[in-house]
Symmetry: C2
Subunit: 270 residues, 2 copies
Amino acid sequence: MNIAPLSKNRIKEIRKLHLKKYRQKANLFLAEGINCLEEALKGTMYPVREIILSEDVLKKKGGHISDLIASSDIQIYSCSRHVMGELSTEENPQGVLLVCGGTCVSIEELRNRASDTIIYLHEISDPGNLGTLFRSALWFGFHQFVLGPDCVDQFNSKTVRASAGALFRIEVYRSADINSLYRFAGDEEYSLTAAVPLKGTEIGKWRPKKKEILMLGQETHGLSPDLLKMADCCISVPGSGEAESLNLASSASIIFYVLSCFRRNREKSG
Amino acid sequence: MNIAPLSKNRIKEIRKLHLKKYRQKANLFLAEGINCLEEALKGTMYPVREIILSEDVLKKKGGHISDLIASSDIQIYSCSRHVMGELSTEENPQGVLLVCGGTCVSIEELRNRASDTIIYLHEISDPGNLGTLFRSALWFGFHQFVLGPDCVDQFNSKTVRASAGALFRIEVYRSADINSLYRFAGDEEYSLTAAVPLKGTEIGKWRPKKKEILMLGQETHGLSPDLLKMADCCISVPGSGEAESLNLASSASIIFYVLSCFRRNREKSG
């Protein structure tokens, strides 16, 4: 294992990745923890470029980490606990920081490789919600997300953390505007289904089409009128009427569950 | 509307409520925002004792707030934006801070008033998760929670915030140990169902009993072996096998949905 010390300049560059504009400029983002490293090495979308270990973690787990990355040419650096505290985005750093490659990919790249289920997110503003959405989707085997223009950055550290490693197995595309989504759905013959808080078809009565784009809206304001107009179908999670709303990631998880049950039953019966 | 200025001493006392030990000593906790106030006034478990408004909010919304609290004897105080910043637990204070009464109630108090569905939480450590669980449960009409001894405080500001007002409509009880839960379930004829990440009965095949205590475990380690031994039934949310785990609040929301569907269908057919 070839371990280099971190230069002052590299520390400065890595710290900059806490901010979106530098992440976008460098096409890099940060992830933390050994679990994340294991997931990152399974995926191919976001290659690990560098691993920074605090000295105590290097001593205890250096061998294991070296085994994990095997013969790849990922550079490992070590630093003091103090420097790790500066580099980390966590309150209690785990001592394992990953610098990963990550670019924004246009929805056009999704043509010819699209699966039967695509999740479209409109103006999601809470990075934790976004990460939880990735995690739930992956649980049910849904891999492809399209993010509208005003969604939070998928490489935000809170998103990466909440995804619990799932980000590395999820393909994220960006649509520049609603029209590019609409064109894509039309060309590729997807049904557009909008999740709405109330008054949609109860999800238990929903009959998903073979190819679905599931549209989920912003935490407070939901989907825009334009997106609702585009939808072939609106669905809702039925409630008792006592609570004002469901958390976005919770309601999405319920919809993913219902969709995955429907698809599994169709596979069995077909 | 009788509005008093906040004394220095009161400011000090309210700031102390950021910490669990002072909340427990005073049997008080903090909540924020007009939405929360509206929900708090609908519930009876946690009475609003004081409302603190920043001067700008008092000017804009004082009339509306005064209408909301009507003839109740809730005391309203006003303070500067700066003082509100010190009192608030939020990064961007909304300017409406509530001091509410809240005590810990033993599971024994639940006898004779228990509903058909009780949610038991074991060692939940993330306050945001706890609040999201309250919100999801209320959506489906489940009102009663029992928290095991090592659960995070239900009056933690992050819990109150994540619950989006739902806390005020939820009854929370505490069990001192596993035995008190087991005795309660036996005496009151509840089935104990444990949610486990893998290898339980698939929730689609689960047949809940008339009276259910649904046991949910800690984010990382799940339920303890003792709780699993006590369970009449273990259930899991089926997945594709690709993700390591589901977020606790997401999987609980899916289970709540399935349980509420089952209960509604039984009501219809029975």
